[in-house]
């Protein structure tokens, strides 16, 4: 490299941002503004809880989760990821309500000292549908939106870069910790740690992995803070944005309509119009 001349500002054609930055998504749903998708996900999740019952949340799942997922071509991934995320909590909530619903009288099944009740089953199904609606809405958002796109859009609207950074970094921390855990697992195995076999052996194998993952992450916090400070992150005021996602008046109206619809549903629930 002829470092000197490559670093200097010689006359040459101006280049824009790389094509992949701000490139429109592959489907109409991907191309929606991130805030529109975030609003839809939030309204779906909160709406499922507020509506209660089974029919309302199921309708929401079909209209606001499954249909958009099909349009976006992510239905198989949505089902797989959504179930993976929600099954542990859904199963435990289902079992607890089915067998331990307080005040239930209609016995469906008796297994030793515990009984499954009809009232418990009805409530467990309601809870299950709500959990599926929440996990489906959140999963659809993340399958069709890059977190950084939402951050850029929020910054464009005047939200503090720090709030955007914390949100985005929190999301990105999960895969980073998974990568670190895989590296540490491989290193510990290379040194003879047994992480396979019986449940007890696996449990014993977790300790030397979890410790370095957590302590390593904590130790890196200070270095990360220093690097961010050195790159001007704490400078007050707005940052320069390289691009921002497209938006439209129609989407803005749709967002407000969704929010007003949710507010009306909450009011109706409080006023007792929804039973």
């Amino acid at each position: 490299m002829a470092g000197g001349d490559r670093l200097s500002d010689e006359a040459r054609p101006a280049r824009g941002i790389p094509p992949s930055l701000g490139r429109p998504g592959p489907t109409a749903y991907h191309r929606l503004n991130p805030l529109t998708k975030a609003t839809l996900a939030t309204v779906t999740a909160v709406g499922a809880v507020v509506l209660g019952g089974v029919v309302g949340p199921v309708g929401l799942v079909v209209v606001a989760v499954l249909l958009p997922a099909a349009i976006a071509g992510v239905l198989p991934q949505l089902v797989r990821t959504g179930l993976l995320l929600s099954l542990p909590i859904a199963i435990s909530a289902f079992v607890v309500n089915l067998f331990f619903y307080p005040g239930a009288e209609t016995v469906l099944l008796r297994i030793g000292p515990i009984t499954a009740t009809a009232e418990g089953l009805a409530f467990a199904i309601e809870i299950l549908v709500r959990i599926l609606a929440i996990s489906g809405a959140v999963t659809l958002f993340y399958l069709t939106t890059r977190p950084s796109d939402l951050v850029v859009d929020l910054e464009r609207r005047g939200v503090s870069p720090r709030i955007g950074f914390v949100t985005n970094a929190s999301v990105q921390t999960v895969p980073a910790m998974v990568d670190r855990a895989q590296q540490i697992t491989a290193a510990q195995r290379a040194r003879g740690l047994d992480t396979e076999g019986s449940v007890w052996r696996r449990i014993r194998g977790v300790v030397p992995i979890v410790g370095p993952v957590i302590l390593g992450s904590i130790a890196e916090v200070e270095e990360r803070t220093m690097a961010l400070e050195a790159r001007g992150f704490t400078r007050p005021g707005r940052r320069t944005l390289l691009w921002s996602p497209s938006d439209s008046r129609t989407q803005a109206i749709a967002r407000w309509a969704l929010v007003i619809g949710l507010a009306a549903t909450i009011v109706a629930r409080i006023a007792g119009f929804l039973g």
């Binding site: 490559r6 950084s148 990105q172 790159r231 001007g232």
Partner: protein, 269 residues
């Protein structure tokens, strides 16, 4: 423009004794000051103090004066100082912002924070990427690069901020020889553009190539300083825990074997 340290000492928060003592140092335009020394001699601490991170970000107690173009920077906030003095660390993973989806956004992160106009941010980012020959990586996810590539991205992020003064703490620690050459070229080019640079390094061959002067630290104090050739050829280096340069070793071995003279010196030049 000059960064000057006058009788500077520094003690980390909670430490019983100081890690730096009585440091007097000037970093002038276009000058590359190399800092070497054994482990725990204070190299990284000196880098943190010169950049202002110690004590602003990490706490601790500082003594003496740090002057930037004769102005006392004691009450400057970190973001103001970061517009004038950049710093790069040796671990590339912790230097990435973690929020950039592409290498381009990662390199542009610093200039974006400084609210530099968009077109200039883009221009600076491409220049920095091309300077380190990593423009082909511009659309890759920085988290999925090798350690060496990540370090080049981190250095490019510093170049894009175009600081007047740059502090690099072992910037080539995770780089292969080709990557080390790229960073060395970039440092030389920046110095030619008038940037003053302080580099802490274990690789004396690299210092021999890029540094105009070298400082050797021992237990937090300056044990030796002078022109690069004079310091790196000094026989006391080994006692101070600093490896001799490859050329110096070759000269010594050749001399011991009775080989030498003009042809060897010509080859080493």
């Amino acid at each position: 423009m000059t960064v000057s340290l006058r009788s500077v000492g520094y003690r980390y928060a909670g430490a019983s004794r100081p890690s730096l003592l009585d440091i007097d140092l000037d970093l002038r335009d276009g000058e590359v000051v190399g800092v070497a020394g054994a482990s725990e001699s204070g190299k990284t601490t000196l880098a943190l103090v010169v950049s202002g991170i110690a004590p602003r970000t990490i706490g601790g107690q500082i003594r003496g004066k740090i002057l930037l173009d004769q102005a006392d920077v004691d009450d400057w906030p970190m973001h103001r100082l970061s517009e004038r003095i950049g710093i790069g660390f040796q671990n590339p993973a912790t230097q990435l912002s973690q929020v950039a989806g592409t290498v381009f956004e990662e390199v542009a992160f610093g200039p974006m924070n400084l609210a530099i106009p968009r077109d200039e941010v883009i221009d600076r980012t491409w220049h920095a990427l091309e300077a380190l020959a990593i423009d082909a990586l511009s659309e890759r996810d920085p988290r999925h690069l090798s350690g060496g590539q990540q370090q080049l991205v981190a250095v490019a992020g510093l170049l894009a901020m175009r600081p007047e003064h740059l502090v690099l703490d072992e910037p080539t620690a995770q780089l292969d020889p080709a990557g080390t050459r790229l960073v060395a070229d970039a440092i030389a080019a920046l110095a030619a553009d008038g940037v003053s640079i302080l580099v802490t390094e274990q690789k004396t061959d690299l210092l021999a190539r890029i540094a105009t002067s070298v400082v050797i630290l021992e237990a937090g104090r300056i044990a030796m300083r002078g022109r690069t050739g004079d310091v790196l050829d000094d026989p006391r280096l080994e006692e101070l825990g600093v490896a001799e340069t490859s050329a110096g070793r070759l000269r010594r071995l050749a001399s011991a074997a009775g080989v030498g003279g003009a042809r060897l010196e010509a080859a080493l030049r």
